[in-house]
Assembly symmetry: C2
Homo-oligomer: 146 residues x 2
């Protein structure tokens, strides 16, 4: 594959494992870090990347994942604070060019962005989709309240 | 407001409260149901809808929310099973025309859809956005692995 990227993903939950499987499948080099070994069961049989068992807030664990070689870093744990911390370490200390973090609390997005971390907030995205659904039904001439 | 809708939202967490505030602000009639009174603190001071304190899996609570008059029903709790159950009750027993449920586990989306429930899966949406971010960087000519 041309343009193969070295991608480090923290968190092997639903989102992290899905990304790892997809990105590995299309030919990227993927490393997934999680402190709970069972989460690695969500990786596909054809996942060709590496698993690192450990706490990503520990430098030794990030070094084991060879973070300094990474082109892309994804922070996908279920804790906003962990995601912010590891994303900052990846950006500032390991100079990873492209760092994205999941953030559940929409109010934190702005802070993250000011710190140079791109964020994806599932809550905001879901809210937009729900609102769009109401708007599109209205546009389609749905009935009003009886 | 023209085309005012009667909207019932189950769950007043980040997503539910955000939707309630937005939809109330643009003139819809909104009822929010949650079993935890504290969650109502997330509603804006200008929220003009109703709060119903109770367990939405109980028919009495849904009746109190006047669900049979609803044009739109959103299930936004943090439990996929609860969302599926209340969404089905809204669709089948109260004949609400437009029912949407949040589902965290992407594998359940298909089942929901077969049961006539529209779903929004933040995990899938977030994953698409992460993958898009990698793809767009590649298209923009990002460096490959050293």
């Amino acid at each position: 594959m041309q343009n193969n990227r070295y991608i480090v993903i923290v968190g092997c939950g639903r989102l992290g494992s899905h990304l790892a499987n997809q990105l590995s499948r299309v030919g990227h080099s993927v490393v997934v870090i999680d402190s709970n070994e069972e989460t690695f069961n969500a990786l596909s049989p054809d996942f060709s990347g590496f698993r690192v068992l450990g706490d990503a807030t520990q430098m030794a664990v990030l070094k084991e994942a060879k973070l300094k070689h990474a082109d892309v870093f994804f922070a996908t744990t279920h804790e906003d604070n962990v995601n912010l911390m590891v994303a900052q370490v990846a950006r500032k200390l390991f100079n990873v060019a492209h760092v994205l973090a999941r953030v559940f609390d929409p109010r934190r997005e702005q802070i993250y962005n000011q710190l140079g971390i791109e964020t994806i907030c599932p809550t905001s995205v879901a809210a937009e989709m729900f609102l769009l659904a109401v708007a599109s039904r209205r546009a389609a001439g749905g009935n009003t309240t009886p």
